[in-house]
């Protein structure tokens, strides 16, 4: 990938001060992200709940 493309991707993530060495690391990150995405099961369905679900605390001392 060209340096200009890596610089743009970094900027989109808010990372505007990465050196050339850091951009090389970002390139490796892109490959790692693709590899991890490929390993996710393809049958995950929207009906399966997430492991993090917003949950309100139990009310304390409140009587309607």
């Amino acid at each position: 990938m060209e340096k200009a493309d890596l610089t743009r991707i970094a900027a989109e993530a808010g990372l505007t001060r990465l050196s050339d060495q850091h951009l090389e690391q970002l390139q490796r990150s892109l490959a790692a992200a693709r590899e991890l995405a490929d390993k996710l099961p393809k049958d995950l369905h929207w009906s399966e709940e997430l492991s993090l679900t917003f949950r309100l605390a139990r009310p304390t001392g409140h009587k309607p």
Binding site: R17, H22, A37
Partner: protein
């Protein structure tokens, strides 16, 4: 001296309570040992002798005056340097936080202070508990006393080394993808990752909030149960804290395991990974020992390790990047290479992949807990290999993912690593015992029976 260096927490506590040992004598002896050995093994990045001696003298006055605060009273301990101790820097072993002075104690620090423990200092970690071993940080990495030139595991590396080296009888670590159990395995000590939510994370610098745990590290199973007893409990200021009853974790240690049902997840270390032959033999031998002690040991299967690793890696990287984004935007050069690489990985994972990783986590948790239903405790590998040389970066990178700890960060179940033998070269081998959520007492019961039947936790590095 070696008598005091390797005195267990429970033995030291009994002597202190009986007036046969002074907290000042014990603290001075360990401070001397730290002064002699820390320059070579780098377990501590900050020793606090003044604080330690003041706490030891106070404990001595209290005990002589008839005030006994319990098992940790007068006992030296240390904290991984992502855990706040008011007035001291919490550096996370990073230049980024070198000047970060904690303004309050972490919840676990408060508890250990209230228990009369003698705080000895801050222990080395991998940078932000994610990047290591690294040689480009303000402090050198901790070195394993077993072998003398080996990787001690991480990220709670200083905690593992301090215990193996006889610098402390008790320490705390943290575990997001295995970071209590990895150094426990490589350093030949006992490390427990408790159930998610059992121990408060307030005042502990996060790596990945949804996977972070604080855990006790000791040289014996009994000591581990004692230390967990002191730090477990609900904290309304930790959103992940669980409001559950806290049992007596030491109550069942002598009960034996006759009639218990123990699952053996052998495919983790023979199919998903081909573990080192000596590690495989140690695990199979451990299963045999548990059987001879009266447990029914049966093989079982869980989802492939790669699925747990995939969800763990995506979640850690995304949550860590969210925490570090501002610093990476303004001071990327302040990070060591390894931590920067691993945290940058989270910058380019899509939100949809993160959400799918959370779906996968929920699915794996359901499947794992269902498979556990027929068993009291499950036995499997922690590490697949003994320690490599710490300056062999290629070997460290190759061996780091060869582990079976992440499944139980994913599910949040309690998981304990302990010694299971030694290689022909004298390096520790290990096993892992996993329980049902909040059933730490059962894990300790099985671990204690195994410990009594073997001698592994009685061994210490020679000549130090």
């Amino acid at each position: 001296m070696s008598d005091l260096a390797f005195l267990s927490l429970s033995e030291a506590s009994a002597r202190l309570r009986a007036g046969k040992l002074s907290p000042v004598t014990l603290t001075e002896a360990l401070l001397d040992r730290i002064q002699r050995l820390n320059p070579r093994f780098h377990a501590f990045i900050r020793v606090t002798p003044d604080l330690a001696m003041a706490a030891a003298r106070q404990a001595e006055r209290d005990i002589k005056g008839g005030t006994w605060r319990g098992a940790l009273h007068g006992i030296p301990f240390g904290l991984k340097d992502i855990i706040d101790w008011s007035g001291l820097p919490t550096t996370a072993h990073s230049k980024v936080l070198a000047e970060n002075i904690a303004t309050a104690d972490a919840a676990v620090s408060q508890r250990l202070k209230a228990a009369g423990g003698v705080f000895m200092g801050k222990l080395a970690t991998h940078e932000f508990a994610i990047g290591g071993p690294s040689f480009d940080l303000p402090w050198p990495p901790a070195v394993n006393p077993w072998g003398g030139r080996h990787f001690p595991g991480g990220s709670s590396s200083g905690s593992g080394v301090a215990l193996a080296l006889g610098l402390l009888p008790a320490a705390l670590g943290t575990d997001t993808g295995g970071s209590v159990r990895n150094p426990a395995s490589m350093c030949g000590i006992v490390g427990m990752k408790p159930t998610y939510g059992l121990v408060s994370r307030r005042g502990v610098f996060p790596l990945a909030n949804s996977l972070d745990h604080v855990g006790p590290m000791t040289r014996t199973v009994r000591d581990n149960a004692l230390l967990l007893q002191l730090i477990a409990g609900y904290d309304g200021d930790d959103p992940g804290s669980a409001e559950v009853p806290i049992p007596d974790y030491g109550a069942g240690l002598e009960a034996g395991i006759k009639g218990l049902s123990i699952g053996l997840v052998r495919h983790f270390y023979t199919e998903d990974f081909s573990a080192h032959p000596e590690q495989v033999a140690a695990l199979d031998q451990a299963a045999q020992v548990l059987g001879e002690l009266g447990a029914e040991v049966r093989e079982m299967r869980l989802p492939p390790l790669e699925q747990y690793a995939t969800t763990t890696r995506i979640i850690i990287r995304c949550e860590a990047f969210a925490i570090h984004r501002q610093w990476l935007a303004t001071r990327p050069e302040a990070y060591g290479d390894l931590a920067r690489q691993r945290i940058l990985d989270g910058a380019v994972v899509s939100a949809a992949d993160y959400i799918d990783a959370l779906r996968l986590r929920a699915r794996l948790t359901r499947q794992t807990l269902a498979a556990f239903a027929d068993f009291d405790v499950v036995l499997t590998a922690s590490n697949m290999d003994p320690a490599c040389l710490i300056d062999d970066a290629e070997a460290c990178a190759r061996l780091y993912p060869r582990q079976a700890r992440q499944p139980f960060n994913v599910t949040g179940q309690p998981a304990l690593a302990m010694p299971a033998g030694f290689t022909a070269d004298g390096l520790p081998l290990s096993l892992q015992l996993i329980g049902h959520p909040f059933q730490e007492a059962m894990v300790y019961r099985v671990a204690a029976a195994y410990e009594r039947a073997t001698t592994w936790t009685e061994r210490h590095p020679l000549g130090l």
